[in-house]
C-alpha cells in the first residue's frame, strides 16, 4: 500500500504561493462577497447583511443587457481569436525551424512590454475615420467606415489583448504533440486536413481549450477596450462596475456585479477544464 510521506521541505516551498493566494485572492474574494451585502450611508460603507443590493441589481434590465452583451462579446472574441491564432500556431509548431519559432514567440511576447492602455490608444490613429485603415481603403474607392466606438472596435481591442497570448499557448500545446502519431496518421492515409481534425486537435485539446479559456476570461473582464474603442456603447459589465461606483459610491452594488462575473468565470472555467480533461469514451 502506498504511503503518503509528509515532506517538510516540499511543504515549505509550497507555502509562499498558498499564503499569497489566501491573502490576495481568497481573502479579497470573501470580502467582496461580504461587501455585496453592505449598505452605503453618507458615502460610507456600513457593515450589514441586507439583500437590497442584490435585489436592486438583479432586477434592473440594464444589468442583464450588459451581462448578455459582455458574455456574447467575450464568446465571439474567443471563437474568432482561437480560429485566427490556430494557423499561425500550427505553422510555428510544425512548419518552421526551432530557431524561427523561438524568435516568433519572442516577438509575440514583446507587445506585453508596453502598456495595454497605450496599445489601445494607438488604435485611435489606425481605426479613426481619418485614420490609416480608411486612408488605405480610400485608395481603392472604399469607405470611410466607422470602426471606433463600435462593437468591432471593442473586438479589435480584445484581440489586441488576447491574440498574442492565445498564439503562444496554442503553439506550446501543438509543439508538444508526439510527431510520430502525426506521421502515423499520414502513413495510414490521412489527408492533411483529416490529420489536423482527427489527430492534432484531439491531442492538443487541453492546451487549445486552456488558451480559449484565457481568452474568454481576459475579454470578459476587460474594461479598457469596450470603453475606449467601443465608446461604452452599450456598456459591458466592467463599465457598469465603474458607473455604479461613480454615483453614490455604491461599492456594494458594484460588488454584486463583480460576484456575478466571478461566478460566471468560475463556471466557465470548470466547464472548460472538464471538457479539456475528459477522456474519450472507448469504443
Amino acid at each position: 500500500m502506498a504511503r503518503t510521506n509528509f515532506s517538510g521541505f516540499a511543504t515549505t516551498w509550497r507555502m509562499p504561493i498558498i499564503v499569497w493566494q489566501v491573502l490576495f485572492f481568497l481573502g479579497p474574494l470573501l470580502f467582496m462577497i461580504a461587501m455585496s451585502f453592505f449598505l452605503v450611508k453618507n458615502y460610507r460603507m456600513v457593515e450589514a447583511f441586507e439583500l437590497k443590493n442584490w435585489e436592486k441589481m438583479l432586477t434592473r434590465g440594464y444589468f442583464w443587457d450588459s451581462y448578455i452583451l459582455t458574455f456574447w462579446l467575450a464568446s465571439l472574441t474567443t471563437a474568432v481569436t482561437s480560429l485566427l491564432a490556430f494557423p499561425a500556431s500550427f505553422a510555428l509548431a510544425f512548419k518552421v525551424s526551432p530557431s524561427v519559432r523561438r524568435w516568433a514567440l519572442f516577438f509575440l511576447i514583446i507587445p506585453f512590454f508596453t502598456s495595454y492602455l497605450v496599445r489601445i490608444f494607438s488604435w485611435y490613429v489606425i481605426l479613426a475615420e481619418s485614420g490609416v485603415v480608411n486612408a488605405l481603403l480610400a485608395h481603392i474607392g472604399l469607405g470611410p467606415y466607422t470602426m471606433l466606438n463600435t462593437k468591432f472596435g471593442t473586438l479589435v481591442g480584445y484581440m489586441t489583448l488576447t491574440l498574442p497570448l492565445v498564439v503562444v499557448l496554442q503553439t506550446f500545446a501543438l509543439a508538444n504533440i508526439d510527431r510520430n502519431l502525426v506521421q502515423a496518421a499520414h502513413n495510414l492515409g490521412c489527408s492533411p486536413a483529416r490529420a489536423i481534425y482527427a489527430v492534432i486537435v484531439p491531442l492538443a485539446k487541453t492546451g487549445l481549450i486552456v488558451a480559449a479559456l484565457f481568452c474568454f476570461i481576459l475579454s470578459f473582464g476587460d474594461f479598457v477596450s469596450p470603453y475606449y474603442l467601443g465608446g461604452s456603447k452599450p456598456p459591458t459589465l466592467p463599465i457598469l462596475i465603474i458607473d455604479t461606483t461613480k454615483s453614490g459610491q455604491q461599492w456594494p452594488r458594484a460588488a454584486v456585479v463583480a460576484v456575478v462575473m466571478m461566478l460566471t468565470l468560475i463556471s466557465i472555467a470548470f466547464a472548460a477544464l472538464a471538457l479539456a480533461y475528459r477522456k474519450r469514451a472507448s469504443r
Binding site: Y228, T244, G248
Partner: protein, 377 residues
C-alpha cells in the same frame, strides 16, 4: 605599467574620496533643508496640483503639494470619508458638493476677511450657494467654467449650435458624444425641455419628460467618454458634437488649433464652480490659507485661468485685469473681456447661466439609474 595605471587612477580616487567626504559632512544640512519643506496634502481635480499652477508658489514658499486627484464629487466625498481626519489639508471641490462637505464636518470654517470678497466679479460669487452657513464661510470660490454646446466648427454652424436642438441634426447621427457623467448631460436636456432656472428641481412629469427627451437623442449618440476619450474623439473628428462639456475641454483643443468651439445656447448653459476649503483637522491651516490667498490674488487667478489641464475663468476683477494684461490671447479666446459676446459674467447677468446643482426631487441614484438605462438603450 601597473604603477602608471595607479598614478593615473589616484587623482580620480582622491576626488571621489573628497566628494564623498563633503557629501557626508553636508548631509545633515541637506536633510535639515529637506525637512523644512512643508508638505500640503491636496485633494483636487486633476491639474490643480501640477507644476504649471503650483511650482512658482512652492519655490517661493518652501512648500510642496502632494496632490491626490479624484474624478467627480462622489469620488471626492468617498475619499475623505475613508481617510482619517486631517488627511487632506486643502480640498478643491465642485460648489454643489461644498454643502455636503460641510454637513459631514469635513471642512474648517474660514475667515471671510482673509479673502478678496470686495473684488469679486459678480455679486453671486460673494455669497455662493452652499459656501456659507449661518453667515460663516466654509469655502472660497476659485474659478468657474460654462457648459453648453461643444461642436466641430466644420460640421456645425454657430447658428445651429445656438440651440441644443443641433444634437438631433440628422447629419450628426452617430457623431454626438456624451461626457460620461449624468449630471451635466441631464442638466442640459432639462434646459432643452425649457425648465430654465428650475432645471434641477423637477416634479414627476418633468422628470419623465426629461427622460423621454434624452432617450430620443440616443440614436444620434456615437459614444460615452471620459476626459481622455472626449478629448481624443473631438480632436480626431470621430465626434462632431459633444453634450455635457464646455470650454474646459474644447478650450484646450482650440489652443492646439483644433476646429472646435463651445457656446452657450439660447436655452441656457450650466456653470461648474470650483472652490477651495481647508480640511478639518489640518495642522497646516495657516499655510493652506496663505495658498488660497495666493490663488485669489491676480497672479494666482491668472495661473488658474491658464491651467494646462483645463481652463477656467477668473472670478476676481483684479485677476481678470491681470489676465488681460499678461495673456491677452487667452483672455480673448475665453471671452474674458468686458463687452465681448459670451463674456461669462455678461452671460450670468443675462440669466443664461445656471449653477450646477444636484437633483432636488430625485436622488443622484435615480439619475444614475436612468443614465445606465440610457447607455444600454
Amino acid at each position: 605599467m601597473n604603477d602608471k595605471k595607479s598614478q593615473l587612477m589616484s587623482p580620480a580616487r582622491r576626488k571621489v574620496l573628497k566628494a564623498t567626504g563633503a557629501a557626508i559632512i553636508s548631509a545633515p544640512y541637506i536633510s535639515r533643508s529637506w525637512a523644512s519643506v512643508t508638505e500640503i496634502n491636496m485633494l483636487a481635480w486633476y491639474g490643480h496640483g501640477e507644476p504649471d499652477v503650483v511650482a512658482e508658489y512652492e519655490a517661493a514658499n518652501n512648500v510642496k503639494f502632494k496632490p491626490k486627484y479624484y474624478a467627480g464629487g462622489d469620488n471626492m466625498l468617498a475619499l475623505i470619508a475613508q481617510s482619517p481626519p486631517g488627511t487632506y489639508d486643502l480640498i478643491l471641490s465642485d460648489a454643489e458638493f461644498v454643502q455636503q462637505l460641510n454637513a459631514a464636518g469635513y471642512i474648517e470654517e474660514m475667515n471671510a476677511a482673509d479673502y478678496p470678497f470686495d473684488d469679486m466679479l459678480h455679486e453671486d460669487f460673494t455669497k455662493f450657494p452652499g459656501h456659507w452657513k449661518d453667515d460663516k464661510l466654509f469655502s472660497m470660490m476659485l474659478r468657474g467654467g460654462h457648459l453648453g454646446v461643444s461642436y466641430n466648427t466644420t460640421a456645425v454652424t454657430a447658428e445651429e449650435a445656438s440651440s441644443y436642438q443641433c444634437f438631433w441634426k440628422p447629419e450628426l447621427k452617430g457623431k454626438v458624444g456624451h461626457f460620461d457623467w449624468h449630471l451635466p448631460n441631464l442638466g442640459m436636456m432639462s434646459l432643452y425641455d425649457g425648465n430654465g432656472a428650475s432645471l434641477w428641481d423637477l416634479d414627476d412629469d418633468k422628470w419623465k419628460k426629461l427622460q423621454e427627451t434624452t432617450t430620443s437623442l440616443r440614436p444620434q449618440v456615437g459614444g460615452f467618454f471620459d476626459y481622455g476619450g472626449t478629448f481624443n474623439s473631438l480632436k480626431n473628428g470621430e465626434m462632431l458634437a459633444m453634450c455635457g462639456i464646455g470650454d474646459w475641454i474644447t478650450g484646450v483643443l482650440e489652443k492646439d488649433g483644433a476646429p472646435v468651439a463651445s457656446v452657450i445656447p439660447k436655452e441656457g448653459g450650466i456653470q461648474f464652480t470650483e472652490s477651495y476649503s481647508i480640511g478639518k483637522g489640518s495642522e497646516k491651516a495657516d499655510e493652506v490659507k496663505k495658498f488660497i490667498q495666493y490663488m485669489m490674488s491676480p497672479e494666482g487667478q491668472v495661473k488658474s485661468a491658464q491651467m494646462a489641464a483645463y481652463p477656467g475663468f477668473c472670478v476676481t476683477k483684479a485677476g481678470r485685469a491681470k489676465l488681460q494684461e499678461v495673456d491677452k490671447q487667452e483672455a480673448m479666446r475665453s471671452h474674458q473681456i468686458e463687452g465681448m459676446a459670451n463674456d461669462p459674467i455678461a452671460l450670468i447677468n443675462e440669466g443664461r447661466i445656471h449653477y450646477r446643482d444636484i437633483p432636488q426631487q430625485q436622488t443622484l441614484e435615480d439619475w444614475n439609474d436612468y443614465w445606465s438605462e440610457y447607455k444600454n438603450a
